[in-house]
């Protein structure tokens, strides 16, 4: 069994030093259809350092998935990135058409929600694992297979040699997700984007995957963006948390801060909605109203139609992201005067 400490990470040599692994600045991705323009991501900004796990939470339709797909530039049509900057290791990926090809799948990798359908059913595991290695690391078939086996061991899959010859339908959901993680790591990537990787798995497997990701982050010092709609998972895995709603980040802080002191009414509602086993609950908390259609967002704050504190200003003017100190940002009029504007 190869020790993880044997794996050496290559330092970037000869490149300008950068402070943040990933910087997203005012990212806008719209879906332009005949029915109207859906503003799926409407001015999202955040930063990520090496070795940091950022949790991105929100309901379905909040834009979290589209945001990370925009970073990878795999937004499905008719979506288009219409504005903003995405800087990876200091380089603007949106500026140059070839930039994304240099890093996608190599230095910046992604795993997906549905392990059952995310692997190609007619190609062997071996083929699907080695093609990335051969392409990005320029290794030959045999060497690529060795690397693949090493990573399969790392994600705790037994008999990696055998698995390489199998097809996806021979593996369980949990194993497939591990294979996907192995595929995402094997090119020595610096940034792993995980789009709800545990949602489709049962709870025990979920725990194993989360533990695995944490361990890998510790050893390999990777940056991770972890998307989920489950506050409990956020609490377990992420260092920082960004709450998204209707295409905008509504609150951002360290996870401990967000859990202890949620400021945005939406965040508060989300935390309240977590079912607890330690206290008696008669009813699960729900948030009244429903998520507005992206084609038909309310004027003003997008949460205003469901917020208990909503006032006239909330309904008419869109609040900015305000810094309330200690790196805790919130997009709500209630904190506008007590803070410095962030943007």
């Amino acid at each position: 069994m190869t020790k993880l400490t044997d794996m050496k990470r290559e330092k970037d040599s000869g490149q300008a030093q950068w402070e943040y692994l990933l910087e997203v600045e005012d990212l806008k991705t719209y879906f332009i259809t005949k029915a109207g323009t859906g503003k799926a991501v409407d001015g999202v900004s955040f930063r990520l350092k090496k070795g940091e796990i950022l949790g991105l939470i929100g309901e379905s339709g909040s834009g979290k998935s589209v945001a990370v797909k925009s970073i990878m530039q795999i937004v499905p049509k008719p979506g288009r990135i219409v504005g903003g900057k995405v800087r990876f290791k200091g380089e603007d990926l949106l500026g140059d058409a070839k930039a994304i090809q240099r890093v996608r799948g190599k230095d910046m990798t992604m795993i997906f929600q549905e392990p059952m359908t995310s692997l190609n059913p007619v190609l062997t595991i071996g083929r699907q694992m080695t093609e990335g290695i051969m392409l990005h690391l320029h290794l030959k078939q045999k060497q690529a297979e060795d690397v693949a086996c090493k990573y399969l061991e790392m994600v705790k899959i037994p008999n990696p040699q055998e698995i390489l010859k199998r097809y996806p339908h021979h593996l369980s959901g949990g194993m497939r997700q591990r294979v996907m993680i192995a595929m995402a790591l094997e090119t020595n990537s610096s940034l792993l984007i995980a789009d709800e990787p545990t949602t489709a798995l049962d709870v025990t497997i979920q725990q194993q995957i989360l533990a695995l990701i944490r361990e890998l982050r510790d050893r390999l010092n990777m940056g991770v963006i972890f998307i989920t709609h489950d506050m409990g998972v956020i609490n377990e895995i992420s260092d920082h948390t960004a709450v998204m709603y209707c295409g905008k980040i509504q609150e951002y802080a360290s996870t401990r801060e967000v859990m202890k002191n949620p400021l945005h009414p939406y965040t508060q509602a989300l935390i309240q909605a977590i079912p607890r086993i330690d206290t008696e609950q008669e009813e699960l908390h729900t948030i009244p109203g429903s998520v507005p259609s992206l084609l038909n967002l309310p004027a003003g704050c997008s949460f205003s139609n469901r917020c208990q504190y909503a006032c006239e200003q909330c309904k008419n003017e869109t609040p900015e992201l305000y810094d309330t100190g200690d790196g805790h940002f919130v997009r709500c009029w209630r904190y506008a005067d007590t803070s410095t504007k962030e943007g």
């Binding site: 996608r104 799948g105 093609e131």
Partner: protein
């Protein structure tokens, strides 16, 4: 292995049943080959003599058994109209039609898959519109008319290809296009829709996210999945090609099995009809078997079962 044996057994049974069915049907159709052969001026006694020579005065069962015995020994009998052995003629014509069908199929498959893939990749652009136009034309234009059109433009006006025959390689071009056009349309549409479906699958997104280059994504990840229904379509189409070759063969005076079969039917040449149909049925069976095999190989999910 067991799978192969099972299929072989059922194939033989189908062949046998078909031979009886074919025999009964053509003897049941009105029309007397002896009359046809003897001609309109012939007296009744002449017709009778001819009928005896043809062996048609014997009871049906005897005729069938005799014929079947011959088939097992590789003897397909004597043609009632040309008085020559059927097997050599049939073999030549069968090979001709097979050749034409293969060329037509190659044309249909290569251009069909190519066009289908292109129109899936360039979905909703002018290329897509063009290929759908080709598909509609290919399906709706009658084969005979297409053949005539091709001849008028490319043989007479432009003088590139000969009108008839099968001597030079050039003379195969127009008939291959003619016979394959219908299949081309079907394959194009099938490829397009299959590719579009596959391109929407999650594993394609994974492939893109892995940074794989476009050729690899389209032709390895996508096409291999898309091929499964396409192969089935191709198999069926090949059967139709062989069976429907008569129109193309008539237009281009191409000495093939289809025309031979139609001429035999008109002359009520029973042994020739039986032999031709049996050959066609066999081809169908073999093609279907090959398609099943290909399906089996393309789709690994089938292999682990059973």
């Amino acid at each position: 292995m067991k799978y192969v044996l099972k299929r072989l057994c059922s194939a033989v049974i189908v062949l046998f049943v078909m031979s009886v069915v074919i025999f009964l049907i053509i003897h049941w159709i009105p029309g007397d080959p002896a009359e046809i052969y003897a001609g309109t001026g012939a007296s009744a006694s002449t017709v009778e003599t001819v009928r005896k020579t043809m062996g048609l005065d014997r009871p049906l069962v005897v005729q069938y058994v005799d014929w079947l015995k011959g088939v097992f020994q590789g003897d397909f009998g004597i043609s009632l109209s040309t008085k020559e052995e059927i097997l050599p003629t049939l073999a030549t014509k069968f090979i001709n039609t097979l050749q034409l069908s293969v060329y037509g199929a190659a044309f249909a498959i290569i251009c069909g898959i190519g066009l289908g893939v292109l129109s899936a990749l360039y979905h909703n652009t002018i290329i897509d519109v063009f290929s759908m136009l080709v598909a509609i034309i290919g399906i709706s234009m009658p084969v005979y008319w297409v053949g005539m059109l091709l001849v008028m433009v490319f043989s007479i006006q432009l003088g590139i290809f000969p009108v008839t025959g099968n001597e030079t390689w050039l003379s195969y071009v127009l008939p291959s296009i003619c016979i394959g056009l219908n299949s081309l349309a079907v394959i194009t549409r099938m490829t397009r829709s299959s590719m579009l479906e596959v391109l929407n699958e999650d594993y394609i997104v994974t492939a893109v996210a892995k940074g794989l280059r476009k050729p690899s994504i389209y032709f390895v990840h996508a096409l291999k999945n898309a091929m499964i229904p396409i192969i089935t379509t191709i198999g069926m189409q090949f059967g139709y090609l062989m069976g429907g070759s008569v129109l193309t063969e008539t237009v281009f005076v191409y000495p093939g099995l289809g025309k031979y079969l139609v001429d035999s039917i008109q002359a009520r040449d029973y042994p020739a009809i039986q032999a031709s149909l049996l050959v066609l049925v066999t081809v169908f069976i073999i093609v279907n078997f090959l398609v099943d095999l290909a399906y089996f190989m393309l789709n690994p999910r089938l292999r682990s079962e059973g």
